[in-house]
Symmetry: C2
Subunit: 102 residues, 2 copies
């Protein structure tokens, strides 16, 4: 699990990002909650490919069980090109970004 | 096996809705394109659980390969409660609704 802190560089708004992968959902829920508890007002949840469903689960579990006050501010979907190391061929993979605020 | 639908908007009958399940992505892409070609200006793509990733794929493949003009108008995520026939226990499942327009 990668928690990326975009530390305060001048006037740039700090965005806290949680990348969702293959770990249990609650790991990511905890990561998001930790960011909120440590003062973040906004958390960005990102995922690619099959982890997209899990990213939605993270938001829904957090909203339904732990932090009913959070709001889904914005959801973006997109495509990224990845290059496989084995075959060296580019593959398109879908992405999602869910911005939640408290 | 999940059979009973309990609340939520999942089974709402709508002419321009495509439910994404376990079939190949191109099946759903074709379904959406058929709706657009037959006069719809708006298509709603819905999915639950693991099919959520596939629903995003459907939109991205359609946008990148077949209909570059479509726009993602709105994305909503939510939770539905489903009752398993075997255990009779309610389970929460995440949902997504992606509204696309041309």
């Amino acid at each position: 699990m990668i928690i990326e802190h975009n530390g305060g560089r001048g006037f740039e708004v700090s965005v806290n990002t949680v990348y969702v992968g293959r770990k249990p959902i609650l790991n990511y829920v905890l990561a998001c909650m930790t960011l909120f508890k440590s003062g973040a007002n906004e958390v960005l949840i990102k995922a690619r490919g099959r982890a997209i469903s899990r990213a939605v689960d993270v938001v829904e579990v957090m909203r339904n069980r732990f932090m009913p006050d959070i709001k889904v501010e914005d959801i973006k979907i997109g495509t990224e090109e990845m290059v496989s190391e084995d075959t060296n061929t580019p593959t398109n993979i879908s992405t999602i970004e869910i911005k939640i605020t408290k």
